[in-house]
């Protein structure tokens, strides 16, 4: 279940929608255990997100990354390096 802050999905105001999407990706990979999950989330975002989306989520990460679940936060941080 999504524990993150509730989102109004019917507006597209970033970064809420991106946080939601990132956490959704995290939910799939989480069952694979921490290491696989972090790597899987990072790879997925790298493969499928356009640069402006990645930039936005990095900015959100820099601002504290509120709402991102732990593995997702870690994955995005690893991607930013």
């Amino acid at each position: 279940m999504h524990q993150g802050k509730s989102m109004d999905t019917h507006t597209s105001t970033s970064p809420d929608r991106l946080i939601y999407m990132a956490n959704q990706i995290g939910d799939f990979f989480n069952s694979q255990g921490h290491d696989h999950a972090v790597a899987g989330i990072a790879e997925h975002i790298k493969k499928f997100w356009d640069p402006r989306m990645r930039k936005k989520i990095f900015e959100h990460l820099d601002a504290g990354g509120a709402g991102l679940k732990p593995n997702v936060l870690e994955a995005i941080a690893s991607l930013k390096k």
């Binding site: 279940m1 999504h2 999905t9 019917h10 507006t11 597209s12 970033s14 929608r17 999407m21 959704q24 990706i25 939910d27 799939f28 989480n30 069952s31 694979q32 997925h44 493969k47 499928f48 997100w49 356009d50 640069p51 402006r52 989306m53």
Partner: protein, 969 residues
């Protein structure tokens, strides 16, 4: 050119591998055991006279015209029902047979009108041909006796007899079906139509009522064709040897004089047709027997619903406008190209290179899609290209490439003939993929077992001579829980195919997966509270699938269009691997794809992260090949997907969109959000046949060409690449690939091709799975299924035969995560969406044909219990509300729905079903969650405010300015 002639062998082909040799008319002939003597004779070129036999249906032996003599046997057996056997000596013609045949023929003609000159079948009448073949010269009986031919008759019948009275045997023509007529006065009761309806289509709408002289072909219980269960597939019309069942177009125009083999532009089955022409006028579409997807069958859409090509609303001139509130101005092609190019260049100058993009069409050809994605990647200089597969089968691509290594189904359609247990998940083939459904139903009638996983009781669950062994009516959104529970039963009851898994899959990944699914929380009993599925039924279904022989899974958008769409596809792949059902005929994972070329549009590099052939854009080696061929540097970063484009548009970073043959405003979820995104863009180019809903927000309109007006290829759900052949000049002046080239040239990126075959040559040069594909090969062999290359020069009907494409099959964990779209006090019901047989996708084509007689409007299906609670009666207007918006439509009360679940189709723009759907989407691909929306319904008086405003905006936006007449000097 002439008509493409197909030989009618009289009876179906025998599949036996054992050959028998017999002698017919002194010639020795070898045929597979089980072949009829009639067919054996035809194989050597001898046509035995026949009326009731045709090779689309089994032999019947009723007309007695095909009699032969067999040495050593008494009498004159019918050659259609007598099998060829080793050593038989057969004579097809001698004085005795000739006399018998003439007698039979004379009796037929004695009850048949002799209006051959003015008859619609003139030139295509088997009765006339046979009268000629048997040498009938005289009919001795006259029409004084009882007959079915004349409306009036009498004891002393003469044409103007004042004594003539009503003839009770005569029946008037039934013209109720919009596409064909039934004229009982011409019927010879051969029952070919009845058998075609049963054996080929599987609807059982027709029967022979009465006996002897009273025998009549009867739709339903002596109803009209339109009023009966008839689904208007046209198999009966094709089977009819006389003018009894005739296409109205043939009656109106006359017999065709030439034809070309082409591919249907409706669903992903990819039926092959002969387009039968008179000049540049299409007379009729006749399914082609050699078509490997359809094997000579068709549905109402492909055979009959092509009238949209000439519809008065079709736009034939390019149009432009500065603002969407302006009326359209008709301009020349060059003006339109230059206007559009200037806008797009201006946007890039202002907002950056990545601020424009395009959407390729799953209805256009491979070649047309290829040039659009090439224009975007090479001409626009970014990867902002996507296609409508985003909103349908993108999870299939993700799920199957992760587990098996290819983004496509594993089988050909013929495979179903070897299947023992069919599992259909989230698909409604009798409506969505009717020709495949007919082939499936034929196999089910022959004894294969059926499991249906679907919230609705779809037609396939129970229909004529078919009943699913298990129907699992799950709550929408719980696919992953149900599939994992099926896996739980298979693993915990020791039914997994360990030999297959050890040989073909990664064993340690399997062990992890097996331990995961075996957890007690994944059992059918534990998950029933969420899924609503009876655990006993689920266990029985799992056992049947695992132990019932060849198991094949067919699935549709009920699988993919969910928050966990990709996870569900992975769960399906897991299930197939765990039961060893991959890599041979009769098994496999088979996505039923929606649009004619959605497979092709994905193959052709329509996704923002992938070059043609599903290779990631970041791969240097692959990208460099394209750069060398295209002579341009490509961007190595993935571009925006459709929903991301909309988000970026509302944020102001994505300002120009070129949409080829796709109505995103009607088909994409949350219409209000799409409207906001389109309104925010500075230039929207719509390239389409009609001013579709998206065009209401467009600044440039490029008129499109229909599939009848261009050359190219489509790739169907079996990965089968088939030719589309031009049979008439494009009414808009240009084939669609030429339109894209014109626009590209105006942008300064010139692509020079003289014919689509040259585009295919480029595709083949750049894409290993297409390396062996060329127009010359398609001309030669008809069609090929990719991969088609040096290793598989004739293509690959069945994938993963000797191991998975990715190496070892990969089991992946599939944790069920409930969608955040859930019911509550405000929105207590779940809405799911789907389609109906007579309409196609957003209905742009089918709504502009006579198919509207079957489906004039979208209706809201709901269970009587839910209706009663709210005081709703059948046919009432109801308001349908979700968190996203509201609309109104009329109710259809039916027990096919489970209580708590409601359903509608999305074929009509006035319904606005997508005002209701939300922006929740698949975690991996952003494929929208069309199949689950929490809603409330209540009685209503009529259209909502939004619908009224929308209609007014659409009406305003579709204005086309009258040409300015210059004043005389």
């Amino acid at each position: 050119m002439s008509l493409v002639h197909e030989i009618d062998f009289g009876t179906p082909r025998s599949k036996s591998e054992k050959m028998v040799t017999l002698t017919i008319d002194g010639q020795s002939v070898s045929v597979p055991e089980g072949t009829s003597i009639m067919r054996a004779a035809m194989e050597m070129g001898t046509q035995i006279p026949k009326l009731c036999a045709t090779d689309m249906v089994d032999a019947f032996g009723s007309c007695r015209l095909c009699l032969v003599e067999i040495e050593g046997r008494a009498g004159t057996p019918a050659s259609c029902t007598t099998p060829a056997m080793e050593g038989l000596v057969v004579h097809t013609q001698n004085a005795r047979l000739a006399a018998l045949r003439k007698g039979v023929m004379e009796l037929y003609i004695s009850d048949h009108p002799l209006d051959c000159l003015t008859c619609a079948a003139n030139g295509d009448c088997e009765l006339q041909d046979m009268a000629g073949a048997v040498g009938l010269r005289d009919v001795r009986y006259g029409y004084d006796g009882e007959n079915h031919v004349f409306a009036k008759s009498g004891p002393k019948h003469t044409h103007n007899s004042p004594e003539a009275c009503e003839n009770d045997h005569w029946m008037a023509k039934d013209e109720s079906n919009p596409y064909f007529t039934y004229d009982p006065s011409k019927c010879i009761v051969c029952s070919r139509c009845v058998r075609a309806c049963e054996e080929v289509q599987g609807t059982f709408a027709l029967t022979i009522s009465g006996r002897g002289f009273e025998s009549r072909v009867s739709p339903g219980m002596s109803e009209s064709f339109l009023g009966s269960e008839c689904v208007s597939c046209g198999a009966c019309v094709q089977a009819c040897p006389t003018a009894t069942l005739t296409e109205k177009a043939v009656i109106e125009i006359g017999q065709p004089e030439h034809s070309a083999v082409t591919t249907c532009a409706y669903c992903g089955v990819g039926c092959t047709f002969k387009a039968e022409m008179r000049g540049e006028e299409l007379v009729r579409m006749v399914p082609y027997k050699d078509g490997k997807a359809n094997r000579g069958h068709s549905c109402v859409k492909g055979r009959f619903a092509w009238g949209y090509a000439n519809h008065k609303e079709r736009i034939l001139n390019p149009m432009i406008r500065e603002k969407i509130t302006d009326p359209w101005q008709e301009v020349s092609w060059d003006e339109a190209f230059n206007f559009a190019a200037k806008k797009f260049k201006g946007i890039q100058a202002k907002h950056g290179k990545d601020s424009i993009g395009g959407i390729t069409s799953s209805r256009c050809t491979n070649e047309e899609v290829f040039v659009v994605q090439k224009l975007i990647r090479a001409g626009f200089g970014n990867n902002n290209v996507d296609t409508c597969a985003r909103v349908c089968h993108s999870p299939t691509g993700y799920g199957l490439s992760s587990t098996f290594g290819t983004s496509a189904g594993t089988q050909d359609f013929d495979s179903v003939e070897d299947t023992d247990v069919v599992m259909i998940i989230g698909a409604n083939p009798t409506d969505g993929h009717p020709v495949f459904a007919s082939r499936l139903k034929k196999r089910l009638r022959a004894g294969a077992k059926l499991i249906v996983v679907d919230p609705r009781q779809t037609d396939i669950v129970r229909s004529a001579h078919i009943e699913a062994q298990h129907h699992l009516p799950l709550m929408p959104g719980t696919n992953v829980a149900v599939l994992t529970a099926l896996a739980h039963v298979i693993v915990t009851e020791g039914l997994a195919d360990e030999t297959f898994i050890r040989e073909r899959c990664d064993w340690s990944e399997f062990e992890d997966w097996a331990a995961f699914v075996a957890q007690p929380n994944h059992s059918p009993e534990a998950t029933a509270i969420m899924t609503g599925v009876d655990p006993k039924e689920l266990r029985a279904a799992a056992r049947l699938f695992a132990t019932g022989g060849n198991g094949a899974i067919y699935y549709g958008l009920g699988v993919t269009e969910h928050s966990q769409g990709s996870t569900t596809v992975i769960a399906i792949a897991n299930l197939a691997m765990a039961t060893g059902n991959i890599g041979r005929p009769g098994v496999g994972v088979n996505p039923l794809r929606g649009q004619n070329n959605v497979q092709g549009s994905c193959d052709m590099g329509s996704f923002p992260h992938e070059l043609p052939g599903y290779r990631h854009i970041s791969g240097d080696a692959v990208r460099e090949q394209f750069e060398a061929m295209w002579n341009v540097k490509l961007n190595s970063e993935p571009g925006l997907r459709i929903p991301n484009m909309f988000d970026a548009a509302t944020e102001g970073t994505f300002m120009g969109l070129y949409v080829q043959g796709e109505d995103i405003l009607q088909s994409d979820p949350n219409t209000k959000h799409v409207v906001a995104a389109l309104s925010a863009m500075e230039c929207v180019i719509v390239h389409d046949l009609f001013l579709n809903e998206t065009a209401n927000y467009a600044h440039v309109f490029f008129p499109g060409s229909t599939f009848l007006e261009k050359n190219g290829t489509f790739t169907n759900a079996e990965r089968r690449i088939q030719r589309v052949r031009k049979v008439m000049s494009p009414k808009n002046g240009l084939e669609d690939w030429e339109v894209t080239l014109g626009f590209a040239k105006a942008l300064g990126y010139e692509m020079s091709y003289n014919h689509p075959s040259e585009i295919m040559d480029e595709i083949a040069a750049l894409t290993p799975t297409f390396a062996g594909v060329s127009y010359a090969k398609l001309e030669e062999v008809g069609s090929v299924q990719w991969p088609c290359n040096e290793k598989q020069p004739l293509g690959t009907p069945i994938m993963h035969m000797d191991g998975f494409v990715r190496g070892k099959g990969k089991f992946m964990l599939t944790e069920y995560i409930a969608t955040d779209e859930r019911t509550g006090p405000r929105f207590p019901l779940l809405l799911t969406t789907g389609r109906i047989l007579s309409q196609y996708n957003v209905g742009a084509q089918t709504r502009r044909t006579e198919n509207v007689v079957w489906h004039e409007e979208d209706r809201l299906e709901l269970h009587p219990h839910d209706a009663e609670l709210r005081g709703i009666r059948d046919g009432d207007w109801v308001k349908l509300q979700s968190r996203a918006g509201e609309t109104t439509l009329r109710a259809l009360i039916t027990e096919r729905m489970a209580p708590g679940v409601v359903y509608t189709t999305f074929h009509h723009p006035t319904t606005q079903a997508n005002v209701i759907t939300t922006e929740f989407s698949d975690w991996a691909t952003n494929c929208p969650e069309y199949k689950v929306t929490a809603v409330q319904i209540s009685p209503s008086n009529g259209p909502s405010e939004w619908q009224k405003e929308y209609d007014e905006q659409a009406r305003q936006s579709r204005r086309i300015a009258m040409p300015v007449v210059e004043a005389a000097e």
